[in-house]
Symmetry: C2
């Protein structure tokens, strides 16, 4: 059992927190909206707690589960409280109609978050290419992962495996933009016949 700190109280925070708590992790929720976070902690159960946004997270792994448009501000707000933590960026920096990315071509949401975090804080991109409601089903899924820090990536991978996900490494944090494009791929498939209950995966053929 590990303590997992989740910043946010929306759909992804709900899906990840619920799934992780079911698999025996202690969940700490940190949200600007403390009433919503308290209600979510009650819903998650299994002893889930709430802490103030910006306080030092209890978990070694901190999942940034706020929308892309808030993520850099939130990480900046935490400042040195995130020193020594592993940040997991799950954001999808979609443009207005989710047909492309709002980031610049040479960067990614994950790299923007890394730049806003205390120097040396490892950032791992993960969980952005799966729909929250599909993640909530608690069935096995493949998830794509990227990050520069091998130890941090291994620790996140172990967490993902513990909640019945199969982490598939795609390389360094420079691959984060590719995972963000994969979010657009998922949207394109969902909107053009495959439907919103699909999940991407990779199999040996």
């Amino acid at each position: 059992m590990t303590t997992i700190s989740i910043i946010g109280s929306g759909n992804m925070a709900t899906a990840i927190g619920t799934r992780a708590a079911k698999h025996g992790h202690a969940i700490e929720l940190m949200s600007r909206n403390t009433a919503k976070a308290s209600a979510l902690a009650d819903q998650i159960g299994h002893g889930a707690t709430v802490a103030a946004l910006g306080a030092t997270p209890a978990g070694d792994i901190v999942i940034v589960a706020v929308p892309y448009t808030s993520a850099v501000d939130v990480v900046t707000h935490y400042g040195d409280a995130l020193a020594g933590k592993i940040l997991v960026d799950i954001s999808n920096p979609f443009n207005a109609d989710a047909s492309g990315l709002a980031t610049t071509p040479d960067s990614s949401a994950a790299q923007e978050i890394a730049a806003a975090a205390p120097e040396g804080t490892p950032v791992v991109k993960a969980l952005n290419s799966v729909f929250g409601h599909v993640l909530a089903h608690d069935t096995p899924l493949d998830v794509f992962v990227a990050g520069d820090d091998a130890a941090a990536k291994a620790q996140v991978a172990a967490f993902l495996e513990s909640i019945d996900l199969r982490p598939l490494d795609t390389g360094g944090l420079g691959m984060a933009s590719v995972l963000e494009w994969t979010g657009i791929l998922l949207m394109g498939l969902a909107r053009n016949g495959a439907g919103f209950d699909i999940a991407l995966g990779a199999e040996v053929r």
Copy 2:
């Protein structure tokens, strides 16, 4: 049975031609290297033929199976000989180390090919997110498809289904760049532990 014209005589031409011939299609190979094309036609068998590069293709569906760096030149060389045909772009416009794309962020190889083809020629992006040697196994696979012309896309989808592939529509040709990024995703996965025998897919979960 349909006649499928394939421009090229490399790995992807071999994999697609072999698979399509096995499933009863008539294959026409068109290559700058006529000796290589003739040898490939013999290898494919099932009455596969060779025609001159730039001649009017026999098939309604013309698969452009040359490297990205040659694709626009080859399509330009054909000129009006491609009028009335459906072009299938399978290219991966990878940069030197296959860590990103050589195209500009607002375009794609497929759109560059469309611009070089006779006006109104439908272009369908397909088959770029699967390794040639995996395609050659002749096992069922998912393939991602993009294109603006619904009738052309349906005709290509029917061909793909006929060779035991499952076409998954991702939207218009504006999604071609996303499929090209998906080629980079596949490379990232293959290089970071998943290996080169993998194929991407989507399943309802």
